[in-house]
């Protein structure tokens, strides 16, 4: 029995005669997608929470979609990524007046998924750095209060709320991340380690995991070839796709020139007896690459390199 299972975080695009498309608009593309990730050994699937709408239209209910996944070799939907576009007028973790909306909209969303056994609700715990700066301790405390409330609510659904720190998120430095977890309740807020995001932000993801391993509820395993050396994290209106430094930040594990030390991270997971799901992600892989190939290469690396260390 393996200690670790592999899940795939979906950002998939398929090449079609109409150009790149997601699988959410076509049952045939969905069939191909599920077969491809199953073929390389994934057993779980992560996705954005709002996909519930399209999937319900395509399959009748989200439960029926999971049954369909199981028929094709994927055992469950593991984690959801909370898709909120933060706005200080409506929903923004550092704006206390918007917390009720964040809690209630998240409650409604989790209600749509309650027939499944979702493990984590992954959230970006603060808005964009550029929209939050200056980042103050009070703003971090406000965010902590927000996610404590959301986490307590999500626990009622059997779902852990867990923080995922994009390199362009307001809570991005090691000091601020540690403060956030100091001020959040371990019962309600976990840490989700995205290897590439931390690396880009100049934070060693392995060291961060070692500091927060008792709070860590999962991972996005992806690589990067670049550290943000241009303050891209503050670039308006967007850092992820529009910063001058690069058009592509993220690569699959094992990429040439990758900065994440995955073998060291696996040794750390083994040392701290992490068990459960590890999620592979390589968003924006189609920028100069291809989702199918990146996905297969990631699992080659997981099975041939990382499994030698810990499986």
């Amino acid at each position: 029995m393996s200690d670790l299972k592999w899940s795939y975080m979906d950002h998939w695009r398929a090449d079609t005669p109409r150009g790149p498309m997601t699988q959410y608009g076509s049952r045939r593309l969905m069939d191909d997608f599920v077969k491809q990730i199953s073929a390389v050994g994934f057993e779980g699937l992560d996705m954005f929470d709002f996909q519930v709408y399209g999937l319900t239209q395509m399959f009748g209910s989200i439960s029926k979609y999971q049954e369909y996944l199981q028929d094709h070799g994927i055992t469950k939907i593991v984690n959801l990524f909370r898709g909120i576009m933060y706005d200080p007028r409506v929903a923004d973790p550092h704006v206390r007046e918007t917390h009720d909306e964040i809690v209630e909209s998240t409650r409604r969303m989790l209600g749509m998924w309650e027939d499944l056994q979702i493990e984590n609700l992954i959230v970006m715990p603060a808005s964009l750095y550029a929209d939050t700066a200056p980042v103050t301790k009070d703003k971090i405390r406000a965010a902590a209060e927000c996610w404590n409330r959301v986490g307590e609510m999500s626990a009622g659904f059997g779902v852990r709320t867990t923080g995922h720190h994009e390199f362009f998120c307001a809570i991005r430095t090691e000091e601020d991340i540690l403060s956030f977890y100091e001020w959040t309740d371990p019962r309600y807020v976990s840490f989700f380690c995205d290897t590439a995001q931390h690396c880009i932000a100049g934070v060693d993801p392995v060291a961060l995991y070692l500091r927060l391993h008792d709070r860590c509820s999962g991972f996005h395993f992806k690589d990067t070839r670049l550290v943000d050396t241009t303050q891209a994290f503050a670039h308006r209106p967007d850092a992820e796709l529009m910063a001058p430094q690069t058009a592509r930040w993220f690569y699959e594990m094992g990429t040439e020139g990758g900065l994440v030390d995955f073998p060291r991270l696996m040794r750390a997971l083994k040392e701290h007896q992490f068990t459960g799901w590890i999620t592979v992600e390589h968003d924006k892989a189609n920028i100069g690459g291809d989702y199918a190939e990146s996905t297969a290469l990631s699992m080659w690396y997981a099975k041939r390199v990382l499994a030698e260390i810990y499986a």
């Binding site: 077969k35 491809q36 073929a39 390389v40 094709h72 040439e256 080659w300």
Partner: protein
Amino acid sequence: MTGTIRLGYAISQWKPNFDDFTRREQHVRALKVIAACGFTGVELRAGTGRWDPLGRPASIAASYGTASAFAGLLRQIGIETVCSWYFDPGEPIGEELSPGRSVLDAGDHKAITESVKPFAEFLAAAGGSRLVVRPLPSAWQAGRLDADAIATAADGWNQVGAATAGLGVRVSLHADCLSAAADAKILNALLAATDPALAGLTLDTAELTLAGLDPVAVYQRYRDRVDHVHLKDTRHVDEAGERLRPHAEAAMLQAGGARGVGRWFYECGTPGGLVDFPALLRELRADRYPGWLVFESEQTPNPARSVMLNGWYARHVLRC
């Protein structure tokens, strides 16, 4: 079937043009994709020149040092062996200053036999066992084949088979859709004229289907001769006989013929696919077929996608 059958993949799909797929890192990425999808063998395709570094044993040596170094790289990636190598004697070989040879010309037999020896030696060293050959030229080039012509070709393959047998490598005749061998009567005559101890048959599901032959029926008829299998699907049968017309390589296979078919070959299980793979697997299992199933997906717009779909099909539908 686990334990007797093995799954391989034909790497030629990554090289649709002569100047594609030249760099080592491209080979490594392709091999990792193949390994990640559960395939443990790889089939190479004979080629020529500096832009085909996997085309010949000497080319592999030039890029990878030695055959054993290349085999070591494969094992490191998770691929056990080069299970097979495809060879068409009619293709030019620059290294041998050959514009192409014909098995229908007895005068070419000795040269063909000498030409394939390095491939057989490489396969033997790498743990491979099949030299997959094009048994006859394209139908439009071969013209009408009488019994003497078939006998000449058969004699040529018997000679080649005898030369490779000592290395533990069997010659296996592969009838592609354009070949004169993709015809029931000619295939039967050719197999009857070749020595079963020296020449087997590669069953290629889509090529036979496209040529109007039922691959399951072909297997049932020649089950004692089938020693290698290529699995791919097609949505089309060439009912108009375009494969038999002049320059069918370009006019039909590349340009799509009168129907403008964009792609003749697909992954196993493609919607609208014509090949009955479960029926073929039932036959193979009944015979405890001990060889390789080599999946192919030439003409794919995305090789990695095709390997993944074929890997899923092998595991979840064929239960291999």
